[in-house]
């Protein structure tokens, strides 16, 4: 699958997960994501990252429930009551202990579910697409963003690899490998992971991936103008109901200047591609589907054409389940045809999972 299609997919998953608060829909989304995960290509380090994010997502889910238990909250259906001191009201309504209600617990678990979906979406993306492929997608104008993205995408897998290595080193020094030793290794692992991510960024820069040369004044002015234009457009939209047309025009102008700046920068720093990744019809269809779903999900939240939200505090009603909403969640499965068509063997290259820098051995 094309790297651009993966970007579209992960953006779609994150958008849906963040605008949906209906637990049934979120469960459906999680299911779809897991199906994609089963078929997505995954590098050796990507597989590690997936496992860690998977566990991390569940931990956050539990954490979310735990916080809800400790804090207590509104709602009528009391499950049980946590003992705790009554905090003074000047703390702004903060509470410790007290009744734990079904409503509050439902809300907490729903939030955790959404975070789990975001984590898994990112994990699949991280395993399926190397930073190099994402880097090649972006225009030259986004050079700095590209480097930052590379560091970000490399950080998790290399930190995990470092962590496993450190745990082994500690064992070789005679230490245990249990969970309670994890905290003492965490800081060095993150430092090591960061170092490696930066070394990759350095190598990329040393090979000529660099900032574009100075651009013509017009292009620079256009770049500067985009942000104020967008701000004014937003202000008009919010505060001057009668001037929606003006707001739209301003927003279009902001987008226009931004595109002009991007094109000018990309021209100023000419790059070529030896082998462009082929954008199969399935990928194009997928990107279109992703954009449609993103638009649909956002407009559903704004206009309410189908209700993706759920409010447990309104007496814990049973969540609604509409065909349109379910369709949005199932559309997350769109990479399946291309994933099934091309066997994932290509990216699952024969890397035996080992530690201690043994990768050079075979």
């Amino acid at each position: 699958m094309h790297a651009g299609a993966w970007v579209a997919w992960v953006l779609m998953v994150m958008t849906i997960a963040l605008v949906t608060t209906n637990p049934l829909y979120l469960c459906l989304l999680l299911l779809s994501i897991l199906v994609v995960a089963a078929f997505a290509p995954r590098s050796a380090t990507g597989a590690l990252g997936f496992r860690v994010l998977f566990i991390g997502g569940f931990l956050l889910l539990g954490f979310s429930a735990l916080i809800a238990t400790i804090n207590g909250g509104a709602g009528d259906r009391v499950l049980f009551t946590m003992p705790g001191p009554g905090l003074p009201s000047w703390l702004g309504g903060l509470s410790l202990g007290g009744p734990v209600t079904a409503e509050n617990m439902t809300a907490a678990l729903t939030r955790g579910l959404a975070i789990l979906c975001v984590f898994l979406g990112f994990a699949i993306f991280n395993g399926a697409v190397s930073p190099h492929r994402v880097l090649r997608l972006g225009p030259a104008a986004l050079f700095h963003a590209g480097l930052v993205l590379t560091v970000g995408l490399t950080l998790l897998p290399s930190t995990i690899a470092d962590f496993r290595r450190l745990r082994e080193m500690r064992q070789l020094r005679g230490g245990g490998a249990g969970i309670r030793h994890i905290p003492s290794l965490l800081a060095p692992a993150v430092i090591g992971g960061l170092e490696r991510a930066f070394r990759l960024a350095e190598a990329i820069e040393a090979r000529g991936y660099a900032a574009p040369p100075p651009m013509p004044l017009r292009a620079r002015l256009a770049g500067f103008a985009a942000a104020p234009l967008a701000l004014v457009a937003g202000w008009v939209w919010l505060y001057a109901d009668a001037l929606t047309a003006l707001a739209a025009a301003l927003a279009a102008a902001a987008m226009g200047t931004l595109v002009y700046w991007g094109v000018a920068t990309s021209r100023a720093r000419h790059t070529t591609k030896m082998r462009a990744e082929s954008l199969a019809p399935l990928d194009i269809a997928g990107i279109a589907a992703a954009l449609t779903v993103i638009g649909a999900a956002l407009s559903a939240r704004a206009t309410g054409w189908t209700d993706l939200t759920y409010n447990p505090f309104a007496g814990l009603p049973s969540p609604s389940l509409e065909v349109a909403g379910m369709a949005l969640m199932l559309l997350v499965l769109w990479p399946l045809p291309s994933l099934l068509r091309q066997p994932p063997a290509e990216d699952r290259s024969a890397i035996p999972i080992r530690t201690t820098g043994e990768a050079t051995h075979r």
């Binding site: 005679g174 990329i204 082998r275 890397i351």
Partner: protein, 522 residues
């Protein structure tokens, strides 16, 4: 003249002494220049001045000029310098950007906007030149070290630099991988490319080099062949042999040496053999280790007694690391047993390494605390030894001066010592060292040999995996050869590394009966 360095003096921002002191050098087209010298003598700094990393990336005080193909390296932008000076570093893994060989080679060209047809042409040419045409569509992670390093060279050459600079390009490779890289470099020099290579393993590079420059203490210590025995820290076997026998020149190849020695009567005084080994310390029986469906070790049996130092040799992937890791208990064998006196059969890593401790391959991986002292203290603490002994441990290994230093800031040689001190802080009877000679200069190797022999003399034993048989000749009592996960030979050192043995040293090649230059007399 491709590159000229004139009156270059440079000091790093954090240091008071100059790293380079009044260097004058030139590099000519079609010649391969070997830059040698002891660790921390200024080789790497010199190479980094050729692509502008010094001073542009590191800062510091800089005077003099470095010109490559007409560009002043101190002021030309990094993106432009990338097309003038191609730079290849020690670790091929740290330089890889893309996932496949072809993408990796294309990356730099894509950034420079090279037209597609031209890219394909250069890619073809370079794959042929480096002898890796068959790897074109492979993923980088499936390649061996030597293959990866050749891909790194090709991807740098794709920008058609005027000068190719390599900083110890073979130090991470096994002999076969190193040779493949050096042969490719020689072919490249014949096409007219200017090449500068820094290297510790002189015996490996000498046959391929056109010019030799020795850098020590930031100065050009010598140029030409005689450099090899005047600069401390440089001791390729043939230079020592030439000195020992009073030959006028240093032979570069085995054939040169045979010619130089013909007609000279030599007498061999073998070093005294080791005393007969004592009680058994380790017994490995039918050990088999697999990773997934790859069998790394296939029914290996080996025993180790007091006073023995076993050199474990064999190409990459032959199972050396797997054997050591299985004995330490960090990988569980699919079959077979490891027995040691006083260690129960089901013991965990901690109990096993209390008896036979492993110093892993890459010292920078083994160290993770903020100071060297903290590393040793953690080790002692985990072994249940009072941490107040940490000072004594550092003293025993001669690194008291490094106690407060951050391990990440040390040189490779210092890191190696700190790693050994840390992993062996509890003074175990059996030492297992995985490739301790990698990237080490001659003084570091001599230090290691001494430490190993002292340990054996005091009733300990060691297994040392290495590619460097010249060093092994100086410390080993026995040599075990592994190939494809099985033992190929297990012989006393003089039989294994001697004339007619499975792995003769350079000296043994030309003087039957000897394995070290010091054993040969006029």
């Amino acid at each position: 003249m491709t590159a000229t360095i004139s009156a270059l003096t440079y000091r790093y921002p954090s240091s008071t002494a100059p790293a380079l002191d009044d260097i004058n050098l030139s590099f000519e087209p079609g010649r391969l220049t070997l830059v040698c010298g002891p660790s921390a003598g200024g080789k790497s700094t010199l190479l980094r001045s050729l692509n502008g990393l010094v001073p542009q990336f590191y800062g510091g005080v800089y005077s003099g000029t470095v010109t490559v193909a007409g560009f002043d390296a101190a002021v030309t932008t990094a993106r432009r310098m990338a097309t003038v000076t191609g730079m290849v570093f020690q670790d091929p893994e740290a330089q890889a950007i893309a996932a496949s060989v072809e993408e990796e080679i294309a990356f730099g060209m894509e950034q420079q906007g090279v037209p597609r047809d031209e890219m394909l042409r250069r890619c073809d040419y370079l794959l042929d030149l480096m002898g890796i045409q068959h790897l074109r569509n492979r993923s980088l992670s499936s390649l061996s070290g030597g293959e990866r390093q050749r891909v790194a060279i090709a991807s740098v050459l794709a920008l058609e630099p005027a000068l190719l600079v390599l900083d110890e390009p073979t130090s991470q490779l096994d002999p076969a991988g190193a040779e493949s890289v050096l042969v490719a470099l020689e072919a490249l020099a014949r096409t007219g490319m200017t090449i500068a290579v820094a290297e510790h393993r002189l015996d490996r590079l000498l046959p391929h080099a056109d010019d030799i420059v020795a850098i020590a203490d930031g100065r050009v210590a010598a140029t030409g062949d005689w450099a090899l025995d005047t600069v401390p820290g440089l001791a390729p076997p043939f230079a020592l042999l030439a000195k020992q026998l009073g030959l006028g020149t240093v032979p570069r190849t085995v054939d040169d040496a045979r010619r130089a020695l013909s007609g000279i009567p030599v007498r061999v005084e073998p070093c005294p053999g080791p005393p007969s080994p004592g009680d058994p310390l380790l017994h490995v029986r039918d050990l088999t280790v697999s990773y997934g469906d790859v069998t790394a070790l296939d029914g290996v049996s080996l025993s180790l007694r007091q006073g023995e130092i076993v050199a474990l040799v064999g190409p990459n992937g032959s199972g050396k690391s797997s054997l050591l890791r299985a004995v330490a208990g960090v990988v569980s064998p699919a079959a077979g047993e490891v027995e040691s006196p006083g260690v129960e059969s089901g013991a965990g890593v901690a109990a096993r390494t209390a008896h036979a401790a492993l110093v892993p391959q890459d010292p920078s991986f083994a160290l993770y605390r903020d100071t060297v002292l903290d590393e040793v203290r953690e080790s002692l603490h985990l072994r249940g030894v009072p941490v107040s002994r940490a000072g004594d441990v550092l003293e025993r290994w001669g690194i008291s001066g490094l106690a407060r230093r951050d391990p990440r800031d040390l040189s490779v040689g210092q890191q190696q010592r700190a790693a050994i001190a840390t992993m062996l802080a509890h003074a175990p009877p059996v030492w297992m060292l995985d490739e301790p000679t990698r990237g080490a200069d001659a003084p570091a190797k001599a230090w290691l040999s001494r430490a190993l022999r002292d340990h054996a003399a005091s009733g300990g034993a060691a297994i040392v995996s290495t590619h460097d048989i010249e060093s092994a000749a100086a410390f080993a009592t026995r040599v075990v050869g592994l190939r494809d996960g099985a033992i190929e030979f297990d012989l006393p050192v003089r039989e294994a590394l001697g004339h007619g043995g499975p792995m003769p040293t350079r000296t043994a090649h030309v003087v039957p009966g000897a394995i070290l230059p010091g054993e040969v007399h006029r």
